[in-house]
């Protein structure tokens, strides 16, 4: 099972500058844990002190904000794409 993760510029210090990395996991939680084990410090940046997804970080699976899917329990399939983006407003 191979999941692609788009890493925002500010977090690429953890990935040697790589914009896209590959992880494994049957759920988003497993994928973030795997991200943390491969790139120490990166998975941590996505969670707050209570271990929940941080408020100003939006995590998407196949373009959908996971807060409206199953959160960290969102199930993943081979080839799914995860994107991590900072919250941005417009208007």
């Amino acid at each position: 099972m191979s999941i692609e993760v788009r890493v925002p510029t500010v977090l690429r210090t953890h990935t040697d500058g790589e914009k896209r990395v590959t992880v494994e996991g049957a759920t988003l939680a497993e994928a973030i844990d795997d991200l943390e084990s491969r790139y120490p410090g990166l998975g941590e940046r996505l969670r707050d002190e209570e271990g929940k997804l941080a408020r100003f970080v939006n995590v998407y699976v196949n373009d959908e904000d996971v807060r409206f899917l199953g959160g960290e329990q969102t199930e993943l399939a081979d080839g799914d794409q995860i994107a991590i983006l900072p919250a941005v407003a417009g208007g």
Binding site: V10, F56, P86, A89, G91
Partner: protein
């Protein structure tokens, strides 16, 4: 037709048009053309509501200077209403908005302060807050935090949709301040809780997210995520592709965030999410006029054009 005392009265009551060619089988897509407002965007509703509210609170007096952070449309809308009512206007604008937005603001004689591209709209909010703190004479309506923003969508945008499409089953709109989705979505759900609301969120290139620290993210205080059933990001390439299809297949010349919203409507028009036969109302925030200089409508390789677009704030 109608006769109005001045331009500020001519806001709202925009047409809703069907998209028969772009509607997936079994679903009906309708587009509410907010580009038909006096300055050409949905923000005319918000600007009028913000100024009306500030006047009612006694915060504005003849000659007062209004200050607002905006990626463009709100500034242009405020410029028209401030002109009509005798106020001066300063806007804080990220330097990477489309050229037309800056030119229109200049034409209105608006005082423009630019904020760094890599900070996006969040940067314009930061700069405007600093200016407002330093000068108590500036009146900042602050669309991102002012309840008048979602309220005007509940009392006008939503009621117009309900009048035109009483059996509407879902709403799709872009996410900027969150005012359109929060106000319109909440009102539609109050009327019938089975209705679904989806956000189309613009996804930009690295330049826009650039140096942004994840801990400095900005979620507008007026945005109520509880109203949403889904939030789907749309990159420049997908937004551009659907914007071009609107033009080529439906004859509708719309801006890029309209393309993004129609893309999301087509994605959620599936039995897994919405019963077959659902009528989906989509908000088109503006027409294509302000994006001509981006090359979005020129012949040429859409992928290459999208690549250029992704660092311009197109929503």
């Amino acid at each position: 037709m109608a006769l109005y005392r001045d331009i500020s009265q001519a806001v709202g009551n925009t047409p809703m048009v069907g998209l028969p060619r772009l509607s997936p089988a079994g679903y009906e897509l309708y587009l509410k053309l907010e580009g038909q407002n006096p300055t050409g965007s949905v923000k005319d509703r918000v600007a009028k509501a913000l100024i009306d509210a500030a006047e009612a609170e006694g915060r504005l007096h003849p000659g007062s200077r209004v200050l607002e952070p905006t990626s463009g449309n709100t500034g242009i809308a405020l410029a028209a209403i401030c002109t009509a009512r005798g106020y001066k206007l300063t806007v804080v604008l990220p330097e990477n908005t489309s050229r037309e937005r800056t030119e229109l603001l200049e034409a209105y004689g608006v005082d423009i302060v630019t904020s760094p591209a890599e900070e996006g709209s969040n940067g314009s909010v930061r700069v405007a807050n600093e200016m407002a703190e330093a000068d108590p004479d500036l009146v900042m309506p602050f669309q991102y935090g002012n309840p008048a923003n979602p309220r005007i969508h509940a009392t006008t945008t939503a009621t117009e949709i309900l009048a035109d499409l009483p059996d509407v089953g879902a709403l799709v709109a872009g996410l900027g301040t969150g005012g359109t989705l929060t106000g319109t979505g909440r009102r539609l759900k109050q009327d019938d809780p089975s209705r679904k609301v989806f956000a189309a969120e613009p996804e930009y290139g690295d330049l826009v997210y650039g140096l942004r620290n994840l801990d400095d993210g900005f979620v507008p205080p007026i945005f109520d995520a509880e109203v949403l059933d889904g939030r789907i990001k749309v990159d420049s390439e997908k937004a551009l592709a659907t914007t071009r299809r609107l033009l080529a297949e439906e004859g509708i010349f719309a801006g890029l965030s309209t393309g993004a919203a129609v893309h999301v409507a087509r994605r959620v028009a599936t039995p897994r999410r919405l019963p077959e036969g659902t009528k989906i109302a989509i908000i088109s925030p503006d027409g294509g006029w302000k994006y001509l200089s981006t090359g979005a409508y020129k012949p040429g390789d859409p992928e290459a054009i999208a690549e250029e677009l992704q660092d311009t704030l197109w929503a």
